[in-house]
Structures are given as structure tokens and as C-alpha cells.
């Protein structure tokens, strides 16, 4: 009876310990908050703690260090509500202090989303940018211009800044990241 009790105790501890670790590794990579976006300067870094390293392994395996590519991640709109494929969004922004940038959309398992156009990201070259550097696009399911969400459920975005300027690394919270506004929901 005692052996059974201790075995149950160990199994329950394993379930809780390993389960909480996996849940922690699946939680968004946090650190610096900037509007609807978060970023970690420890991505790929040897200085990353065990929890950050586990999150990177699950959510951004083979991501480079921040000085090479700076990654902003978003799971929420600019009002703090979770990004949801049943809603339509407008995303807008300007230029970024970097050599090249893109915003890519992913499903909740962090894979690219099937769509007829095979369009998975936007860049300065794929958008209409006005004279002041401002651009705007939509995020919605189905077809058409903009980024295409999965048919249902949550999704997330990554803003990549390739070869970012020094100011990004010095103060990532000061970068004018895109706004994500909810337009309507089904």
C-alpha cells in the first residue's frame, strides 16, 4: 500500500513538473514590451536562461542572435486582445531602422498558413508605401490582399529586422512597431 502511495506521488510530481515545464516553454517569449509586440534580446544567446532557451527551442528554433536579426513577436492586437482568425484586422506602420524587414504570419503551432496565393509575409517591397514611408495592410481569412489567417483559431506574427541599426539593440522599446487594430469579428 505504501509503495503504491509513493509511486502515485512520484507519477503525480512527474506529471505536474514536466507538464508545467512544457506549458512554460509554450508561453510567449517575453522580455521587452512595445505596443502589441514583445521581444527578447536573449534569442539565440549563450546568456539565455533555461526557460528562455526552451521557449526558443519550441517557438523559434534556429533563430539568430539579436544583433543579426531582431525578432518582435505578437500574439495580441494593439488593444491587448488575443489575435483571432474569426476577426479582421488592419496593420499599419512606417519604416524601421534596419537593412531589411518583413512581417510573417503563423498558425498556433508556429508554421506557415496555407493560402491560395502562397503569401506568408509582407515586406516594404510588397506593400504600397506612401511618400512619408507609411503603409497599411489587412489581416483576414480567405483570399485577397494582405496577410491570410488560418480558417479558425489563434495566430501570431513575427516582425524581423535584418541587420538592425544600433538603436534597435540599445532600446527595442523605442522602435515604432506596427499597430494592429481589430476591424470586425464574425
Amino acid at each position: 500500500m505504501r509503495i503504491l502511495r509513493y509511486t502515485a506521488l512520484v507519477l503525480l510530481a512527474l506529471l505536474v513538473g514536466a507538464g508545467s515545464a512544457i506549458m512554460s516553454a509554450r508561453s510567449p517569449i517575453d522580455g521587452i514590451s512595445n505596443g502589441a509586440w514583445t521581444a527578447s534580446t536573449e534569442t539565440g544567446s549563450k546568456e539565455a536562461d533555461a526557460w528562455t532557451r526552451a521557449r526558443i527551442a519550441i517557438q523559434a528554433l534556429l533563430a539568430m542572435t539579436s544583433d543579426q536579426t531582431f525578432y518582435y513577436s505578437s500574439h495580441k492586437d494593439s488593444d491587448g486582445n488575443a489575435l483571432d482568425a474569426s476577426c479582421r484586422y488592419t496593420m499599419s506602420g512606417g519604416g524601421f531602422p534596419t537593412r531589411w524587414w518583413s512581417v510573417t504570419i503563423y498558425d498556433e503551432e508556429y508554421f506557415l498558413i496555407e493560402n491560395p496565393q502562397k503569401r506568408y509575409s509582407i515586406t516594404a517591397k510588397s506593400l504600397d508605401v506612401d511618400a512619408s514611408g507609411h503603409w497599411q495592410t489587412s489581416i483576414h481569412k480567405g483570399q485577397g490582399a494582405g496577410l491570410i489567417t488560418p480558417p479558425a483559431g489563434p495566430f501570431n506574427l513575427i516582425l524581423r529586422l535584418y541587420n538592425p541599426d544600433a538603436q534597435v539593440l540599445a532600446n527595442p522599446a523605442s522602435v515604432n512597431v506596427p499597430e494592429i487594430r481589430k476591424e470586425s469579428c464574425a
Binding site: V16, G17, A25, F111
Partner: protein
């Protein structure tokens, strides 16, 4: 109540904390091992099928990939789409070439043509750490070059001279090296693909 706390609750908390830490620390290594196996196995199977089918390929090291069972050989990946479900958060703006490396038998050299836009060589240890990156801004040479070796592994002067590139100490015997080309101009996609097939990831 005191007995319950001492005999049941406290041991449970300690055990749960230990399992939590073990899992958190093991996850990166486990996920990297899976990624390395997928890269080396798929490289092996792809190359083997191409040889058996007689399919023409510009991949110069096709036979080499087979000979090494997919290790220490560059595997050019097609542009990422929703059908690619090996590595999370791939970018469709990039062309990736992966090399699952194994330094246990000696150093490995990577040589990649630069092209006209962003290009980089990045290396990831078995625990996911990105311990090395070199991009096209490094110098004016037309190729990116790096020689990877283990601590204490001899790299003779001839090898260093031959490389004329970075000499990089890897913290682990196995890992993944990625060469990235940014597709800055869609009309030049074939040029980027041609560059991919020129990449070398070979034992010295």
C-alpha cells in the same frame, strides 16, 4: 496535518520542481536532436532517391551526402511554404541551406557564395545556442568561409590558410549550420537557388 505536509506535500513539491527543471533543461537538446536527425535523414533519403532515379541535380555533393548518411553535407531546402513542417517559424523571405554537422572525426569547412544581398552563415550548438554568425558585410570576398572545430582539435596552418575565413570553436560535437539568403528581388530567385547549390559543408 503536519505529517501530511512533511511526508506527502513537501516531497511532492521537491519532486515536481526537480522534474520541472529536468524537463526545461532537456527540451532544447531533445528538439535539436530531432531537427538534426530530420535534416541528416531527409538529406540522405533525398540524395539517395535522386541518384537511384537518375534525376539530374546540380547538387555537387549528392553522392557525398549519401556516403556520409546526410551528416557534414549542405542540404539546400526549397523555399519555405505551409507544407514545410520541420522547423517552426521559417521565413518564406529566405532560402535556407542546412548542414547537420559532426566534428567528432575532425573539422568541417563551410563555404558559401555571397551573391548580391543579405547572406549569412549561422551555427547552432546542440543546446540551440547560436554561437556563431557571419554575414555578407564581413568583408569584400565573394564567398563566406568558416572552419568549425572542437576545443583542442588541431587545425593546422594549411587548413586555416586554405580557408582564409573564420576559425570557429564549436561548444558541441554536433549541431546545425544554416546558410541564409534573403530573397530581396523575386526576379532573381533562380540566382539565389544556384547559389544554394554551390554551398559546401565538408570535412577538412
Amino acid at each position: 496535518m503536519k505529517a501530511f505536509i512533511l511526508k506527502i506535500f513537501l516531497p511532492f513539491l521537491v519532486l515536481a520542481a526537480i522534474f520541472h527543471l529536468l524537463t526545461i533543461n532537456a527540451l532544447p537538446n531533445v528538439i535539436m536532436s530531432i531537427a538534426m536527425k530530420k535534416i541528416s535523414d531527409e538529406g540522405y533519403v533525398t540524395a539517395k532517391n535522386m541518384i537511384e532515379d537518375g534525376t539530374y541535380t546540380t547538387l555537387q555533393s549528392t553522392q557525398t551526402v549519401v556516403d556520409r548518411k546526410g551528416w557534414n553535407a549542405s542540404l539546400p531546402s526549397p523555399r519555405a511554404t505551409h507544407e514545410q513542417r520541420i522547423v517552426v517559424r521559417s521565413s518564406a523571405d529566405l532560402l535556407y541551406s542546412a548542414c547537420a554537422y559532426d566534428l567528432s572525426q575532425g573539422p568541417v569547412q563551410v563555404v558559401a557564395p555571397k551573391g548580391s544581398g543579405y547572406a549569412s552563415i549561422s551555427a547552432f550548438a546542440a543546446n540551440t545556442d547560436n554561437f556563431f554568425v557571419m554575414d555578407d558585410r564581413k568583408d569584400r570576398a565573394d564567398h563566406l568561409r568558416a572552419l568549425f572545430h572542437l576545443p583542442g582539435q588541431s587545425v593546422d596552418d594549411d587548413q586555416s590558410e586554405l580557408m582564409k575565413g573564420a576559425s570557429v570553436e564549436s561548444p558541441s560535437a554536433k549541431g546545425i549550420i544554416l546558410v541564409r539568403y534573403l530573397i530581396e528581388d523575386e526576379s532573381k530567385l533562380q540566382d539565389y537557388i544556384d547559389q544554394q547549390y554551390e554551398i559546401k559543408c565538408d570535412p577538412v
